[in-house]
Symmetry: C2
Subunit: 433 residues, 2 copies
């Protein structure tokens, strides 16, 4: 694929402003920005923070290629003076962030970036792009996992994801959020995520008969064949699966239902399998599932052992965007705030303290009881310590999820995670209003 110049993953106005900062001599002033979500998407009681690993990678790797600089200058996007400055620009600022997998509330900073005005402004767009997306998907995955109530949920979404990056990052965020595996091979390779695969309808259609297709797959994958039984007629497909198990002497690990009324069909299929001696063969359901449908299937007692989810997971289809924002909170040591109607921000640098009750949003130099959620990740551009592995972040995410009140985990009408301002944060806000 065309190589993407990641240093240009930014909005043009960042260069417009950078040119002004240079011209007026304020480019090197120290500023702080915080990234947070003003309002939770509909039906969400919490967000699961994700994307930090990619944010760190982008910041540490920030560098303007010659070709990018030539484009910026020839297109009039950046002045020659700015391009000269960009040629040696590296991320030498500080980054604080909540660890991936942390459950966060509306208004709580996920990231804080501090450094020169020029630098912090330029990275806004890509930090939002990466954090918004993975947080959106990790949150959706957590909801699916809640709905499945212990049954594995796997990511089948590559074909409906918004491009290549979305495909693999959705797989990553889904795994972080509690999914057990992905079908996307590239994500398996990049982050050591377990991958799973069954068979496509085309495989059945290409074999003349369903029986021939099932026999072939059982022989080729005797340990873990999952037979797709809905190409022609699902219940008959289950009978054919039994027949194939008999003729080959190999029991399928599972059968997959990908269409129709999954509640009714799974019961019929279970009967056919059990009667045919395939009590150990699991039923995997897929086909436009989401957390609401899964919760319904689980509640009705449909004998489904695991769920494959595509579109709803990788696009977070009922809430397909996260409105994270990146707001200036301090400029040359002075706290600042924005007051647009409905879009006011909290001035100053913040820390979030979690201590059993509502989270307390305090100032970064306060010492309040509880766990401080924002941790130093980069100091003067250098990593403070290695980031946790994805597997470790996934374990932490599971703890975070388990620690949430059940009313916050509710899928339909949750009580959102609560926050309050510390007296100091509150006083500063009043002072500037």
């Amino acid at each position: 694929m065309t190589a993407l110049p990641s240093e240009l993953l930014t909005d043009r106005y960042q260069f417009t402003m950078a040119d002004s900062y240079l011209a007026e001599g304020t480019a090197d002033g120290r500023v702080a920005f915080e990234l947070f979500v003003r309002e939770l998407p509909p039906r969400r009681g919490f967000l699961m923070a994700a994307g930090l690993a990619q944010v760190v990678e982008l910041l540490v790797g920030l560098q303007f290629a010659d070709e990018s600089l030539r484009y910026l200058q020839s297109s009039g996007t950046a002045s020659e003076a700015l391009c000269e400055r960009l040629a040696t620009l590296r991320f030498d600022g500080d980054l604080h962030a909540v660890p991936e997998g942390t459950a966060v509330a509306a208004g709580e900073p996920l990231l804080r970036v501090e450094g020169s005005r020029l630098l912090c402004q330029l990275v806004e767009s890509v930090l939002l792009n990466q954090t918004n997306f993975q947080t959106l998907i990790a949150t959706k995955a957590a909801r699916l996992v809640i709905a499945a109530a212990g049954r594995p949920v796997v990511d089948f979404g590559l074909r409906r994801a918004h491009g290549a990056d979305a495909g693999v990052l959705a797989a990553r965020a889904a795994y972080l959020g509690g999914c057990t595996a992905t079908a996307t091979v590239a994500a398996g390779m990049l982050w050591d995520i377990p991958t799973v695969g069954t068979m496509a309808h085309s495989f059945v259609m290409g074999h003349g008969t369903e029986l021939a297709a099932f026999e072939q797959l059982l022989r080729d994958k005797p340990a873990d064949a999952v037979l797709l039984i809905d190409t022609y007629d699902t219940v008959n497909g289950a009978r054919v699966a039994v027949e194939a198990a008999r003729s080959t002497g190999i029991r399928p690990r599972g059968v997959r239902l990908d269409s129709g009324d999954l509640d009714v069909l799974s019961r019929q299929v279970r009967e056919v399998l059990d009667a045919g001696g395939l009590e150990q063969t699991a039923i995997l359901a897929s086909g436009d599932l989401d957390e609401y449908l899964i919760a319904g299937l689980v509640e009705s007692g449909a004998p489904i052992d695991s769920f494959g989810v595509g579109t709803a997971l990788v696009t977070s289809s009922d809430a397909p965007a996260l409105g994270g924002v990146y707001k200036l909170v301090e400029s040359d040591g002075r706290p600042v705030m924005k007051m647009s109607s409905g879009k006011a921000t909290l001035p100053g640098r913040h820390q979030v303290f979690r201590n059993g009750g509502p989270d307390v949003i305090g100032m970064s130099d306060e010492e309040l009881p509880g766990r401080a959620l924002l941790e130093a990740v980069l100091v003067a551009g250098q990593p403070v310590r290695p980031l946790p592995t994805l597997a470790d972040s996934r374990s932490y995410a599971a703890q975070e999820l388990a620690a949430l009140p059940s009313r916050t985990r509710d899928l339909f009408n949750p009580s959102p995670l609560e926050t309050r301002l510390s007296p100091q944060a509150s006083a500063l806000k009043e002072l500037l209003t």
Copy 2:
């Protein structure tokens, strides 16, 4: 960013099936797949085909890197025999496609891929991933352009797009669909798309006073400054813009409203600007706009000159996924079809003929009146001719849009583009049912 092994942008089951095809000796059998959308998303009367350029790039560049092969084998995803085969695999098949920018109906093939079973099956996931997304966004862009009724619409969506690839591909598809520009600089460089930029709230907040910020930007960008006037109070911001124009002697090219009641505010701002001698200063509106809100603003006569659209455009928020499918239609010269309930496919290789009335879906070897929409793009892996430039595709897309019946362009309750089967296609379907 981590380099993405694009040859592994596929679902694991593709390798599972490939192994079976190798084992049974059918990997080299010739097959045909067609990519189409079963049902239009809600409120859509047509789709605008997009993503072909990326599809061609991926197919022509298909090659398995050593590292990818090592992963496939060590993870048990592919056998040693399959990996040996993959090491020399290139796309040597045929690709037919409707040109980017073509208006298409449900059920009409956007692509047809022919070649060995092994090859055609492996590329399924990435072809769907790329075609679904860009078609989704080009269609959304076309709807926004219809709503704006001649006023420019620009893409502001990078920060809400689903990752890096989504950010730039959305900008590309938006431009194809009729948007006039993007804020995403990388997309400007990659495809020569005009970029635009204004200023952020942080620029205003970092300057102590709004007046100082506006004066600075006017001096730095005298030809094309667009002042963001809603940081504190929008109407007062318009007064400050007038004051800045007076103090600097430079008229802003535009002002931008990014929050509040855009209908009411745009009228108040227009009055302030006109009274202040800034009759030529345009009003750009943004802030969670979509085609429905834009149509309302246009209908009410709000004096808005152009629209910036982010989230709704780059995520197609009211319909965030396109359900394109890739179905086997021919196997070893024999037409095949799938009959799952509600998911039946048309057997055989098709062509679409457009001749004024409903499109006719016929067989690929039929010669029917009208324009044949599917064109040969790759033959035996080689490009038949250079693809059109994005600018040319955009002009063609505009013609396609203009040629649609107004009832099909309707944003709320459209009459979908109609199709019928040719007698031959119909007879083949009956024969196999």
